[in-house]
Amino acid sequence: MAAHDIGIRKDSFTIKAFIYVFLIAGAVTMALPYVWMFVTSIKPLQEIQAYPPSFIVKNPTLEPYKDLFRMVPMIRYLFNSLFVAGSITLFNVFATSLAGYAFAKHKFWGRDKIFFIFLGSLMIPWQVNIIPGFVIVKNLGWLNTYRGLIIPAMAWCAFGIFLNRQYIYSIPDDLIDAARIDGCSEFMIYRKVILPLIKPVVATLAIFTFLQQWNNFVWPLVIIHTSNMRTIPLALAVLTGQFGANFAMVMAGAVIATLPMLVVYLLFQKYIIKGIAMTGVKG
């Protein structure tokens, strides 16, 4: 990234100093809540209740984590989140790129109208869908099930279709026609020609879908009422309500909810930052 270097000449030392002070103060503000979360999660009770509050832990303990795993089925929650977010991501990536190919390169009756409806749906806030969504899921008998968590969330595919269509649109037709002459079926063309060319988009979409779904709260909140089926964010919300006074344990839960996404972020930082700049999707 090329720095634009506004006004940083030899004589503007004050401005540069000001920038560093500002950025460092900002960075401390950003880090503080995370540090405090972690510090609290390894504090024994006496130190949490001690005054003044301190960042230094005299007797660090893993007791809050042990409490957490003893009191609630944390492993199950982690699995639920991973399974739900993972399945939705897999489906989304596959289905939206396939549909994106059809919308970009095929001619069929109603194509532009259907695409327009998909696009238009992006303007509709979730509050409008969620009430009938809940009742539909209830009538299907999907409350408190993986199906209920996963299948309706797969329907939020308009953005992915749009993104894929834009990218596939720019692939030259000659490439596709050549494959057709070679006798490739449409699905083979999708797999052998299109998919390799849109890898960056697919990767970006996959990471964002996973992040979004892992952090999703409202839908699980509405349709999950049994303890075993909770996802991590929902479990954390319930934990705060039930054991709100046990700060160390709640913070241990927050650490566990935060850590996996931090790892994902560190691994895929480039894709994530580029993806946002490229598309403006919300993580």
């Binding site: 069929f108 749906s121 954390l236 913070m251 927050a254």
Partner: protein
């Protein structure tokens, strides 16, 4: 290619429909149909157990004319949006410009400001609830006292509930907007700064005469997105204000419009009323977005 047989054409179309079938079906059942269903329900009384009973416009009339909570929620949402959006945009713009300079540890700064974007908003809210905790334990109050201020009752006081949620939301959203602004800054041609420097322009001149005007499309985009996003604030409110007596905090001082919809729909199961609320929210977002678009519409010239 021109002499394609009709059979082949239909066959080819069949495969196209097959390719879009699954997402289209799911989209229809869980996205498109619900839009119409909730529109219909907004004219009914519906508690999920008994079938919906048609009541005409009475949900809308009640919401707009006989529901003080709705207006409290609207007022709170307006305060939240008017506070969070401009402050968030200013801070993230300053951050983006600062990081765009020739500085060291660029990536470190970028990452740390971006961190909350990849943290579940529920986790962020839970952490901040702990930061805001009462006089004895609360870290923020302790820091305030150290700096010579009085401790604040944060989430326990009707005056401070909404500002507490707003401060946290600004903190959580600043990095995301910063990334968008950084991307926008890369599109400004470098030569413009060089030319300005030759004319002897200083930091502020360059910022106000080059960066700001040329960044206008990005600013408009970010403003629009954060407006739509902030208007629908829910998770933060849910975590920070739910307790005894439902959602909304002390004297409903933290009740926002989507939180109110959640309360009506999923805690009191007044689905008709909640559907009408959903359509009012939809309409407000739509109209305000259009007004925003008009206000900010100006040509960008290079």
């Amino acid at each position: 290619m021109e002499k394609e047989s009709i059979l082949h054409k239909i066959n080819k179309q069949k495969i196209s429909y097959l390719f879009i079938a699954l997402p289209a079906l799911l989209f229809f059942v869980f996205q498109l149909a619900p839009v119409f269903i909730s529109f219909f329900w907004s004219f009914t009384e519906y508690d999920v157990i008994h079938p919906p009973r048609f009541v005409g416009l009475s949900n809308y009339v009640n919401i707009l004319f006989h529901d003080p909570l709705f207006w409290i929620a609207i007022r709170n949402t307006a305060v939240y949006v008017i506070g969070v959006v401009p402050i968030g945009i200013c801070l993230s713009l300053i951050l983006a410009v600062a990081i765009d300079q020739q500085i060291k540890f660029k990536n470190f700064f970028k990452s740390i400001f971006f961190l909350p974007t990849v943290t579940a908003i529920i986790a962020v809210s839970v952490i901040w609830k702990w930061l805001y905790a009462g006089e004895k334990y609360g870290l923020l109050n302790h820091l305030l006292m150290k700096l010579g201020f009085h401790p604040v009752d944060w989430l326990a006081s009707p005056t401070w509930t909404l500002p507490s949620i707003m401060i946290m939301s600004v903190w959580a959203g600043v990095g995301y907007n910063m990334i968008l602004f950084l991307a926008g800054l890369q599109t400004i041609p470098h030569v413009m700064y060089e030319a300005a420097e030759m004319d002897g322009a200083g930091f502020w001149k360059k910022f106000s005469h080059i960066t700001l005007p040329l960044l206008k499309p990005t600013i408009v985009f970010v403003a629009m997105m954060s407006f739509i996003f902030s208007f629908q604030v829910f998770e933060q409110v849910y975590i920070m204000t739910s307790g005894q007596g439902g959602i909304g905090g002390v004297l409903n001082s933290g009740l926002t419009i989507v939180a109110y919809l959640y309360d009506k729909g999923f805690q009191k199961f007044q689905m008709g009323y909640a559907s009408a609320l959903a359509y009012i929210i939809f309409l407000m977002i739509f109209i305000l977005t259009m007004i925003n678009k008009r206000l900010m519409k100006t040509e960008v010239e290079y």
